[in-house]
Amino acid sequence: MKPLVQATPSGLFCPPGDFYIDPLRPVNRAVITHAHADHARAGSTSYLCAREGMALLQARLGPDARIETLAYGEKTTRQGVGLSLHPAGHIRGSAQVRIEHRGYVTVVSGDYKTAADPTCTPLDPQRCNTFISESTFGLPIFKWPAADSIMASIEDWWRENRDQGRTSILFAYALGKAQRILAGLDPDGGPILCHGAVARINRIYRGAGVHLPETIHVDDIQDKALWRSALVIAPPSADHPAWMRRFPQRSRAFASGWMRIRGHRRRRAVDRGFIISDHSDWEGLMATVAASGAESIGVTHGYRAEMVRWLQEQGYEAEALDTVDRTGDEER
């Protein structure tokens, strides 16, 4: 039997259903797992995504993009192929794509995490015959500490800086990571300022009813004394002198799964690295693969070769699928 989903130069393609998943180039019908830039590209004729992620996708693609939605778990068909979207727990609206054809089920994970996240619906593993998994952190060196302990160390760092009169500047991806951190912060810890890119996404999250503590747009600050006690959340791209100049006394930190590795912390030259990721760690990946019950595993993203070899040694049928252009990956 031909596979239900194949890797093509335009991305993952489902021939019987005639649709692409997170296509790399403009296509007719695109199913989008989530609104990160390396998964949601403009130019396709029509889009389908999870209802929870609609507003984010529209913001990414622009007002003219034609987007249809499905509630999580709701079923539709494309040329006789069953199609449904299920929570992936990666960021708000992130979905796994479940495809069923003549009794055979393939699930494409998109990006996913097993850890809890108050800003989105948690991962809901699907039973299937073929599971196509991401592998951004597909090496056993990646083990995430408990999110509570990381949030506590962020707050300790903030408190320490505040006592020294330094601004705490935390770099985090504007979509997903920033909101997850915000939602975990103590709202009485002091003023929380956001870079414009983060503020824009916050508005969408709040509009969807996600509770975030009060934040102030950095440009709206009148009283500069506030800066000395503030926590600033900004995307990594803001880490250049022109933007940073306004905080003369500062401590810089970066929130990412890569902070698990000292070399990455040092290369960023930040004062602190907080290990917090919206991807699964090694154990999370393995647990999800196991929960799928699939006998055949496709691996995309990150450490494909390593994860494929490991899975094969564990008795799975596994292969690497070359799909994603890694340069735009939000975690990179």
């Binding site: 090496l139 056993p140 060196i141 083990k143 698990r260 590795i261 000292r262 070399g263 990455h264 912390r265 040092r266 290369r267 030259a269 004062d271 602190r272 450490y303 390593e306 070899r309 490991w310 040694e313």
Partner: protein
């Protein structure tokens, strides 16, 4: 050890020297003497030797983490550091303890080297199981002999001085030489009574800074003493209470390695300390540095070697005379006293470092051009009125070095770097042309900017032709100008030459492989005066 591991993290996390000093002062303040002294010992770079071969340690850690060898290697490749890879792969500890640092060191770390392999394995696995991630990392660094943290001895001294209120120079002095890390040592280190000066202790060395402007900018020629910059081992010769001590700048006591100097120093009056250079020396001329290398490696020297590579001590300065610290006197006075002293000792192994007579800077520049022929590295300029300082303080001592030798060479192999550049390809092997082929001749690690390193890294990723373990053979395409300080014939190298201190001067984007230098051109440098023809 938790506190020490936390200190390590704080030091590692910041590039600000003020924050580093503050972190250390903070640590010493709260740490008992028995622990603090071990921390100092590690921080200033007295690190223990590797106690387990890398392969062995990888196998033990891999087995404990239930990770096959290939996956361990893949992880190591991403992390770029063995101690860290092990730290990250091991399962969480089952019984974290917080024993004091000195207990860890004396009961767990130091005994390792005398244990049978199996017992060592058991001890290490057991230690891993009692440590959190931060402690494990420091422990792994210690047992692999790779403990390094971005602080200099000067910063450690600054932190101790801040804590105790004792003068930094006194602490530096007390930290020199051979001491055992005990609580008593720590108390002596910070003792308020500063008249202690141990008989064997050398003074901290004063170092010259590179001259980055024309010498004319230093003002009148008459204010300066000019000496050759000898290429040997900087050292101090001490004669106190009938005892002789010879120290190298690396703070090794090397008295036994240079018995002829020790014998000569016996003729010096009691309470004398000379600063100078140990050089391989015959008939009033230096032998090539390579000759000295044969003596450096030996703990004790046989008669044959003594005859083949005799050494002399070229005295630069007099630090102590008649038991009195002369460092605050003017150089001119110290030199005069030293000349008298050496004259009286009258031993041809103790040579007054000659000064160069030249009436003005211009004449000096002409003499400077003789450097390579004489086998020296240029001039050292010292202000005649200056005291003998500590460390590399700019202003009174300058080194005016000769330009290095250079060739244009081709990048052929690369390996990932460590530390700040972990994960990036930063360790390169370079080759010169020979006929249609390429012959490797030097490895170099430094000299490129961060942006260039990233660019070269991308090139390597895309142009790998073959892999040998961690080493990648890359398409020979990039040409770099490689500088080095010296060159000698070598039968152990494929190229037939060994170069000293190779480094990347710049990336020659304008050159193709066909324009790189040939082996003949490289070997022609062997006949450059002052280098080692045929040795």
């Amino acid at each position: 050890m938790k506190a020490f591991a936390a200190l390590y993290r704080r030091l590692d996390a910041t590039t600000s020297t003020n924050r580093k000093v503050a972190a250390m002062a903070d640590y010493f303040e709260r740490t008992p003497a028995a622990d603090a002294i071990w921390a100092i010992s590690f921080l200033i770079g007295r690190r223990p030797r590797r106690v387990v071969p890398t392969r062995q340690l990888m196998a033990w850690a891999g087995a404990r983490a239930e990770v096959p060898e290939w996956l361990f290697e893949a992880s190591y490749d991403v992390v770029g550091d063995l101690a860290e890879t092990i730290t990250l792969l091991l399962p969480p500890p089952t019984r974290v303890s917080d024993r004091p640092l000195h207990v860890w060191v004396s009961r767990e770390l130091l005994p390792l080297k005398d244990m049978a392999l199996e017992a060592r394995q058991q001890a290490i696995l057991d230690a891993w199981d009692r440590m959190d991630v931060a402690q494990r990392f420091v422990w792994n660094k210690l047992i692999t002999g790779g403990f390094r943290v971005g602080v200099s001895r000067r910063l450690v001294v600054r932190a101790l001085a801040r804590l105790s209120g004792i003068d930094a120079a006194v602490i530096t002095h007390r930290l020199m030489g051979d001491w055992t890390p005990t609580a008593d040592t720590y108390r002596r280190l910070l003792a308020a009574d500063t008249t202690d000066a141990d008989t064997s202790r050398p003074y901290p060395f004063f170092l010259a800074s590179p001259l980055e402007q024309p010498p004319e900018a230093l003002g009148s020629r008459d204010d300066w003493q000019v000496e050759w910059k000898w290429d040997g081992i900087r050292g101090q010769v001490i004669q106190r209470r009938e005892q002789i001590f010879i120290w190298s700048r690396g703070e090794e006591l090397v008295t036994d390695k240079y018995p002829e100097l020790a014998a000569a120093a016996a003729a010096l009056p009691d309470g004398t300390v000379l600063d100078g250079e140990i050089l391989p020396w015959r008939n009033g001329r230096p032998l090539p540095f390579g000759a000295l290398q044969r003596r450096i490696g030996r703990k004790s020297v046989g008669r044959k070697l003594l005859k083949e590579v005799p050494v002399a001590f070229l005295a630069y300065d007099l630090l102590e005379c008649g038991g009195r610290d002369r460092r605050s006197d003017a150089l001119a006075q110290r030199r005069e006293a030293m000349a008298r002293l050496l004259d009286r000792a009258a031993d041809d192994r103790l040579v007054l470092s000659p000064t160069i007579d030249a009436p003005d800077w211009k004449t000096l520049a002409t003499r400077h051009a003789e450097s390579r022929r004489r086998g020296v590295e240029g001039f050292v300029l010292k202000r005649l009125s200056s005291p003998y300082g500590v460390g590399r303080r700019r202003g009174d001592w300058w080194k005016w070095k000769i330009d290095p030798l250079t060739v244009d060479a081709v990048l052929i192999y690369a390996q990932r770097g460590h530390g700040r550049r972990a994960g990036l390809y930063t360790d390169y092997t370079f080759a010169v042309r020979q006929g249609e082929g390429l012959v490797p001749f030097a490895k170099a690690y430094s000299g490129l900017s961060d942006a260039e390193i990233r660019e070269v890294d991308r090139f390597i990723q895309r142009n790998t032709r073959e892999r040998f373990g961690p080493v990648r053979a890359v398409r020979p395409e990039l040409v770099f100008e490689i500088a080095f300080e010296g060159i000698r014939a070598s039968t152990r190298h494929k190229s037939g030459v060994a170069v000293r201190f190779p480094r990347i001067l710049r990336w020659r984007r304008d050159k193709t492989v066909a324009a790189a230098d040939t082996l003949d051109a490289l070997q022609a440098l062997l006949t450059t005066p002052g280098h080692e023809p045929g040795s």
